[in-house]
């Protein structure tokens, strides 16, 4: 499996550390109700098809939002988090 780092290009997935779905990017406001935090922290969809998730490229320290297809396993995009919000 190969992933694309916006800093380094296509690299072997062994250079990356996985975090989880890109839901982590959408942090609730501090005083959001507990339900919003519960949703943010724990609840994830399990899409068949296009999915976006977060990977850390250890050698360069860049967090990457990867777009891939959970059916075909095709990796189609990798962007910096600031471009993925």
């Amino acid at each position: 499996m190969r992933l694309i780092c916006p800093c380094c290009g296509w690299r072997d997935r062994r250079e990356f550390t996985y975090m989880g779905a890109d839901d982590y990017l959408h942090r609730p406001v501090p005083d959001a109700p507990p339900e919003a935090w519960d949703e943010y922290l724990h609840n994830r969809t399990n899409p068949a098809g296009a999915a976006r998730d977060l990977w850390y490229h250890d050698p360069c320290g860049t967090w990457v939002c990867i777009t891939r297809d959970t059916i075909t396993h095709a990796v189609t995009d990798g962007t910096r988090l600031e471009d993925a919000q």
Binding site: M1, W10, P28, P30, W37, L54, Y56, H73
Partner: protein, 974 residues
């Protein structure tokens, strides 16, 4: 069988090689495989079958071989399941038959063959069910002894294996006519090409068939193409390399055979495991010939026709009197070509009627082979022709049941192939693996012309996708004969007809599976074990599927195939694990004081990948505790020196650095003054403690924070995430500087004296202060922080000065009645002070649990704030950090022990908590523990029973303040 006097395109007859098989001295030539040398030496019986211990001989000439698996001697050890058909002969090779005792000829277990009526499909499932009491002590050992093929070496194998990575524009798998044409076209256009071929020689079937290309023998044309490819800098030729798996993202696994399989210079790796990343792939893996399931078709001497041709042409093996049994035009054409070349072909047998009979041998149209005879090798063949049955003498029966495209790799991503009636075989669908195209015989196009044409066309398509231009080149001329076949899946008759030779599965087993309800192809496979041997059913899957379809009244297309999974050929664990054991599995990180610590005799212990000194022994120590006690007392009474460089260090700079730290720590860092240090706590977003450490403000916009050794990587990743996800527009940058600095703790009442010698004039530093310092020309940093509870400092210098500084500090400390201290003493000192580490921060504790709720600011947002306020993460129900002292101070206690009320049993329902860290404190002359106890802080003074069921330790303990020593902290502060 014998060697012909001339011929053999693969052989170097000038170089004769002697070798041994089953203790017998034999001769072969350079260029032989073990199989060809055995056949040429008249050895037909090479092993026994897995289940019935039937005599078996070489069947194929490639990696699909189901029978000729032998044990090979290497470096004094026998290696099992080596395929004689791909093993290259070399001087002094020693091999022996496997799955037989005492020899392949006289095998005791051959009795199984007489018992075969009782050993059919599902035998194990039916027999070893009852009584239940027999499972463990009778049935399992019995089955284990019978299971598996060959015996693994029982000693650790150290021989080198390698892993390697390669990248290319175009990966061509297989170097037959199609693969060569594709590689040549792409290479001439300037693409980076890798051409991988299983065989030692490139050329595929051109090496063994009789066709011509551009008026020259196919082998000559192939040699010319290979020579041109070898001369091009953009081509990597990889002979002896089996591409065994297709994976996501254009990654292919390949196994290159090395010193295990050939004569090779010393230190050549036995095998190399390649990961090849290719933009485009051409699958030109050819096709595998099918045997025919007729009665007694498993005798040594029964071979595939293509293999007979290959051994004849490449290795000059004369198969003696040959009977050919085929069902397709290619078989008849091959028989004619071989006869014209001098092979003694006695008859051609084909179930099809109305064949042309212009051959120099008898052609029996509408006929079938219905039996064979010969105890350890074929002696004659029985056939049925026009209602008549008769025998023919034969040394070799050559079978050709048609050809199966080698489409395995095309199916590795769960694609299902499509049935093609015209060739009676499955062919790959386009696009089953992205960016891969199957061509030539692998795509069911069997003529040489079609192979060449599809090779050129596929390469042109790949070049187009790569943005390169296909070169104009003359297209070679070759035969374009049609291929007609009449499927023949089984011949009815007396006796067993084998489908899977490796696992001893017959047509009857498959029919039985269907009758007993295992009618789906995946169920049949598991019930009969068909296709589950090392050859993965390469020569039997198609036949078994057809017999199953017949037994269930379905069509082959409707019955479908089992799932194709990597690896295409067996891959040794040693190759897969190459570079992944010993020090390569866990590299060593060494501190700058490592050599000095080892020179002082310190045993080193692992802390993640780091190695740190456990303690520094002295001659009169009884055990490690003596050393640990001494070192702890040095710190309490004089001065100790300890390398703390393994702690993570992260440098943060920028106008928003303080704001950023406020967001990642529970407490406030922006109020910290330059030149001061503050203890900090980080939470995960789910409200639990991630890590703790210190935060030093080196300048207005410059901070240096430390992490624990264990969590250094995790914290760096976390900070990068928070910064890039939530604060991307803040002016702050961070970088790990862990390895840039060597840092040493100097702790104890005499710490100032040590530093006085280093600096002459010791900078005046308050507790939790920091300052830049000069050590001669070296710029260092001094922190007045303490993890021991004593007056202490940490002195940091650029890593290249670490070794010298450590030596100097230790000498100064020793001169003052102290010395170096290791991890054991460090642990004692911190437990005495109730300082937590990741023994306590176990991922489930909150700031409240650790008694650090005062560090959680109520006035700002930070990572983990919202979740840390959830109900259930604070309160009396929580396990809270406490100290424990045994009632009898000398009673040893253990980490991991559980805690119970004195009058309650040691059962989970009564658990009150558990012990996280223990030590013996030489200062307090008592065992101490840090523990998590339910509502612990409110229970100080209460007694519990500590119960370590594993070690049989039960000790009464009392709950107390986790800060056992100097609870108000005066010693480190003043």
């Amino acid at each position: 069988m014998r060697r012909r006097d001339s011929g053999g395109s693969a052989l170097e007859r000038a170089r004769s090689l002697s070798f041994q098989f089953d203790g017998r001295e034999l001769q072969g030539f350079e260029g032989d495989t073990l199989a060809s040398a055995l056949l040429a030496g008249g050895v037909r019986l090479v092993g026994r079958s897995f289940k019935y211990h039937r005599p078996r001989g070489v069947m194929s000439a490639g990696s699909e071989e189901p029978n000729a698996l032998v044990e090979l001697l290497r470096d004094g050890v026998y290696h099992p399941n080596i395929r004689a058909t791909t093993q290259e002969l070399h001087m002094g090779l020693q091999a022996r038959a496997q799955n037989c005792w005492p020899s392949a000829r006289r095998d005791v277990m051959a009795v199984n063959d007489w018992l075969s009526p009782f050993l059919g499909a599902g035998f194990y499932y039916k027999t070893f069910m009852w009584p239940r009491a027999f499972w463990e002590h009778l049935y399992e050992p019995l089955i284990r002894r019978a299971a598996g093929l060959g015996r693994l070496p029982q000693s650790h194998q150290d021989a080198p294996h390698e892993k390697a990575f390669a990248f290319c524009d175009l990966l061509v798998i297989g170097a037959g006519p199609a693969g060569l044409m594709a590689a040549l076209t792409a290479a001439r256009a300037g693409a980076d090409v890798i051409l991988a071929e299983e065989d030692r020689q490139m050329g595929g079937r051109l090496l063994s068939d009789h066709g011509q290309i551009d008026g020259m023998p196919g082998g000559t044309w192939a040699a010319g193409v290979v020579a041109e490819l070898a001369s091009l800098p953009n081509v990597r030729l990889m002979p002896r390399t089996s591409v065994f798996g297709a994976y996501d993202g254009g990654v292919y696994g390949a196994l290159e055979r090395g010193a295990l399989h050939m004569a090779a210079p010393a230190r050549t790796p036995r095998e190399c495991y390649w990961r090849i990343t290719a933009k485009r792939v051409v699958l030109a893996s050819g096709a595998l010939e099918r045997p025919i399931a007729h009665p007694d078709n498993d005798r040594p001497g029964v071979m595939l026709l293509g293999a007979v041709a290959s051994y004849w042409q490449r290795f000059a093996v004369d198969p003696g009197r040959v009977v050919v049994f085929g069902n397709n035009d290619h078989a008849l054409a091959t028989a004619k070509a071989l006869a014209a070349d001098g092979m003694d072909i006695r008859a051609y047998i084909d179930p099809r009627d109305g064949l042309a009979t212009d051959a120099p041998f008898t052609v029996y149209a509408g006929a079938e082979v219905i039996g064979t005879r010969g105890r350890h090798g074929l002696q004659h063949v029985t056939l049925r022709h026009k209602g008549r049955e008769f025998r023919m003498d034969a040394d070799t029966l050559a079978l050709s049941g048609g050809w199966n495209p080698s489409l395995h790799l095309a199916c590795h991503m769960n694609g299902r192939p499509v049935w093609d009636d015209t060739i009676a075989a499955f062919i790959p669908r386009p696009g089953m693996v992205p960016d891969m195209e199957a061509i030539g015989a692998a795509a069911g196009q069997f003529s040489t012309h079609a192979a060449l044409e599809s090779g050129a066309r596929a390469a042109a398509g790949a070049l187009d996708a790569l943005g390169l231009r296909a070169p104009e080149c003359a297209f070679p001329q070759a035969e374009d004969a049609p291929y007609a076949i009449q499927p023949l899946w089984q011949v009815q008759g007396k006796g067993r007809a084998w489908l899977d030779f490796a696992n001893d599965v017959t047509t009857r087993d498959v029919a039985l599976a269907a009758r007993e309800g295992f009618a789906s192809v995946e169920h049949m496979k598991r019930y009969t074990t068909q296709g589950m041997a090392p050859d993965q059913g390469k020569s039997s899957n198609m036949g078994a599927l057809a017999v199953l379809a017949d037994a269930t009244g379905g069509t082959i297309a409707g019955t479908g195939t089992t799932t194709f999974r990597p690896p295409f050929v067996p891959v040794s664990i040693a190759a897969l694990g190459a570079g992944g054991y010993g020090k390569s599995f866990a590299p060593e990180r060494l501190t700058t004081s490592d050599a000095q610590a080892r020179a002082m005799g310190a045993p080193m212990i692992e802390a993640g990948l780091w190695y740190r000194p456990s303690y520094f022994p002295q001659a009169d120590d009884r055990d490690w505790r003596d050393a640990c006690n001494r070192e702890a007392l040095h710190v309490r009474n004089a001065v100790g020196v300890c390398d703390v460089s393994t702690l993570g260090k992260i440098d943060l700079q920028g106008p928003d650095a303080a704001r950023f730290l406020d967001f990642v720590y529970t407490n406030t860092m922006s109020s910290l003054k330059p030149g001061r240090v503050r203890y900090g706590l980080m939470l995960r977003e789910d409200g639990h403690v991630m890590d703790d450490g210190t935060c030093a403000r080196l300048g207005d916009q410059h901070f240096l924070i430390t992490t624990t050794t264990a969590a250094a990587g995790e914290v760096m990743r976390h900070l990068d995430f928070v910064q890039q996800a939530f604060c991307a527009d803040w002016a702050v940058r961070l970088i790990s500087v862990t390895e840039a600095w060597a840092q040493f703790a100097i702790a104890g009442p005499l710490a100032d004296e040590v530093l006085g010698h280093i600096f002459g004039d010791l900078p005046e530093l308050p507790f939790m202060g920091c300052a830049p310092v000069d050590l001669g020309a070296v710029a260092g940093r001094l922190f007045r922080i303490s993890f021991s509870g004593e007056r202490g400092y940490e002195l940091a210098v650029p890593a290249r000065y670490g070794a010298d500084l450590f030596r100097q500090l230790v000498a100064l400390a020793e001169g003052l009645g102290g010395g170096a201290y290791g991890m054991e003493a460090l642990n004692v000192l911190r437990i005495e002070k109730g300082f937590v580490t990741h023994a306590e921060i176990d991922g489930r504790v909150t700031a409240f649990d650790l008694g650090l709720q005062g560090m959680v600011s109520p006035r700002k947002d930070f990572i983990g704030r919202a979740a840390s306020q959830r109900a259930g993460l604070t309160g009396a129900a929580r396990l809270q950090l406490v100290g424990l002292r045994p009632v009898n101070a000398q009673a040893e206690i253990t980490a991991g022990a559980h805690l119970y009320a004195p009058d309650q049993p040691a059962r989970a329902a009564f658990g009150q908590g558990h012990v996280k860290s223990v030590c013996y404190s030489p200062t307090l002359q008592s065992w101490l523990a840090l523990a998590l106890v339910r509502n612990g802080r409110a229970r100080r003074g209460e007694r519990l029973r500590l119960d370590d069921g594993l070690r049989g330790i039960r000790v009464d303990v009392e709950i107390c303040n986790p800060v056992f020593f100097d609870p108000d902290g005066g010693r480190m502060r003043d």
